[in-house]
Symmetry: C2
Subunit: 353 residues, 2 copies
């Protein structure tokens, strides 16, 4: 699960002011990364005094961390559009600008998702041929995949584009496959459309049309439609859907561990022997928590822009931030945007043919 070491010096801009835990965990994550045997550089963007104070209290390698001051910050509960309008010096905007201008190669933030995606949309360009960006999420599955035996799949879009066309869905499939190839070292990720039946004709018109596009015009490992029950099983490595459906599904997946725990508590109340059984199992349940725990996986990519943004979960601790920055560096090193651009060009050529 630990991303491999990046070989050259990618610079990752990190929004230090975002996330439920405030600057503390974010700065600790960057500090821990600076001590690892990688060449990844981080730029912590946010309130200079706050960041310096936290840094002075934790072990870190000062040659691998720099600080870029931003006087404002977007709160987790703020309206994205309004926040960006009224706070031109917000850390997320400043960080996205550093990437745009080439001072950094990619962006990581655990802050307000809407504001982060909007900042990228305002400042960055789309990859040629891609009309709509997608926010992807990783989710734990029962089956594993790729050289690294990754126990997670990718689902996209989960909220950037609520209404989609067949072409948008095809674009998501191309981008998701390229990302999964890279991050899970999975040579031929199984790509599927989420629908209400396995047959090619199932689903609303845009799903039916996307099924045809993916079959006829891409060289992806497209395995057809999957249904809701296949998501936690891990039948597909990349699940493609509209941002609306993806968001509903993602939030259901996030709730699974909580539901299991609460259902288990019924057993707990009922009988002494069940209670004893639960106590003996507690180590196993913690392992289960790990399997279903987002923090393990660093973050979720926003795909479709010429620059990379990795959105870390709002609840991210230091370890999740470290992982997100490492994944970002790895993706930068492999030049994902160029790979996507080439795949889209092949797609367009096959459609025209």
């Amino acid at each position: 699960m630990t991303p491999p070491i990046s070989k050259r010096s990618a610079v990752i801009a990190i929004d230090a002011m975002g996330g439920d835990h405030g600057a503390e965990e974010v700065v600790r994550g960057a500090a821990a990364l600076s001590l690892e045997p990688t060449y990844v550089q981080t730029v912590l963007v946010g309130d200079g005094d706050v960041i310096s104070k936290i840094l002075s209290g934790v072990r870190h390698n000062p040659e691998r961390i720099s600080l870029h001051h931003a006087s404002q910050a977007v709160r987790m509960d703020e309206s994205p559009a309004q926040a960006l309008e009224t706070k031109p010096d917000a850390s997320i905007l400043v960080a996205a600008r550093l990437v745009k201008e080439g001072s950094a190669d990619a962006l990581v933030s655990a802050g307000n998702t809407g504001a982060s995606v909007l900042a990228c949309a305002k400042l960055w360009n789309k990859i040629p041929g891609i009309r709509r960006a997608a926010l992807a999420a990783v989710y734990p599955t029962e089956t594993r995949r790729g050289e690294k035996d990754d126990p997670f799949s990718l689902i996209l879009d989960v909220g950037a584009t609520l209404d989609v066309t067949a072409e948008d869905l095809a674009g998501f499939a191309i981008m998701g496959s390229a990302y999964a190839q890279l991050v899970s070292k999975n040579r031929r990720p199984r790509v599927a459309l989420l629908s209400n039946g396995a047959e090619a004709g199932k689903g609303p018109p845009e799903i039916v049309a996307a099924h045809r596009l993916l079959t006829e015009a891409t060289d992806l490992n497209f395995v057809g439609n999957i249904e809701g029950v296949d998501i936690p099983r891990g039948t597909a490595d990349v699940v493609v859907c509209s941002g609306f459906v993806g968001n509903v599904v993602l939030k259901m997946l996030e709730g699974v561990h909580g539901t299991i725990m609460r259902l288990a508590s019924y057993a707990y109340k009922e009988r002494l022997i069940w209670r004893a059984g639960l106590m003996m199992l507690s180590g196993g349940l913690n392992r289960l928590k790990q399997i279903t725990d987002w923090e393990e996986y660093g973050g979720a990519p926003v795909l479709g822009f010429d620059k990379l943004f990795i959105k870390a979960h709002g609840r991210s601790g230091a370890r999740a931030i470290t992982n997100a920055a490492k994944v970002a560096a790895k993706v930068v090193d492999a030049d994902l945007a160029k790979q996507i651009e080439e795949a889209v060009r092949r797609f367009d050529a096959r459609r025209a043919a």
Copy 2:
């Protein structure tokens, strides 16, 4: 969980040829019901020889069961439209016709869902003011509700109408609320729209518009938008969504028990003490299976037609069929269609005002 006893003689037409277990379980379900202290009459529709032979082998009250022969049957895996076209004497069509003509009051089937809904759409009329029918499903939740302390919520649509307008969603809300009131004896069911955020402005245009309609033009107990994570929690008693989203969600919910069992098996392999704990918990896990088991709840209503159809799960055993027929009788006795018609009239009047 047992539906109360019906007070007058509702006649329920049952498609005896549908379901994964064939006629055997369906006929046994009707036989068991005939021995219960209710006045419910059933008409078993299907192959006369097959049904007679099964009936002759099980205890039943012949005064409460009759038989109506149909020479054809739709298989579970058949294409609905084609099946109904090529099989005019299919048991599901014959049964729906008995209801249309007044020889029976409601229809129960565990057979091919698409063919069943299509048969109703072909033969029955919509309730005045309702433009699109909805297939609802009951699903188990952590919290309980109503006088009967029902541990399930209703979600609709789950597949009858893939693309919906705001008006369709409002109609689903009105119908779902009326049904939940009746079946769970829940005076003010909490009705919610499934969206990608709790705020009124969240979601695609039809959800945003439906939110406004439900707030301004209905007297429902509308609690606003809920997110995916709220579904298994049971935050709402009636969850309203498009047939496409509902179908994806329902199939994820159906998979939860399987996922829990498979995740538990990781623990099982890992350590002896976890294995012992799991064995001690096995009674609790069976209880959990019950909580997440569809068969307990009889069936799912198709709402929007002037007649009632209760779709029993394809896997239904005899007990599920018995329950489905009892629920159908109860809904017939309360004249659900008339209640929905009146609620829609109030809705239209408030919109016009």
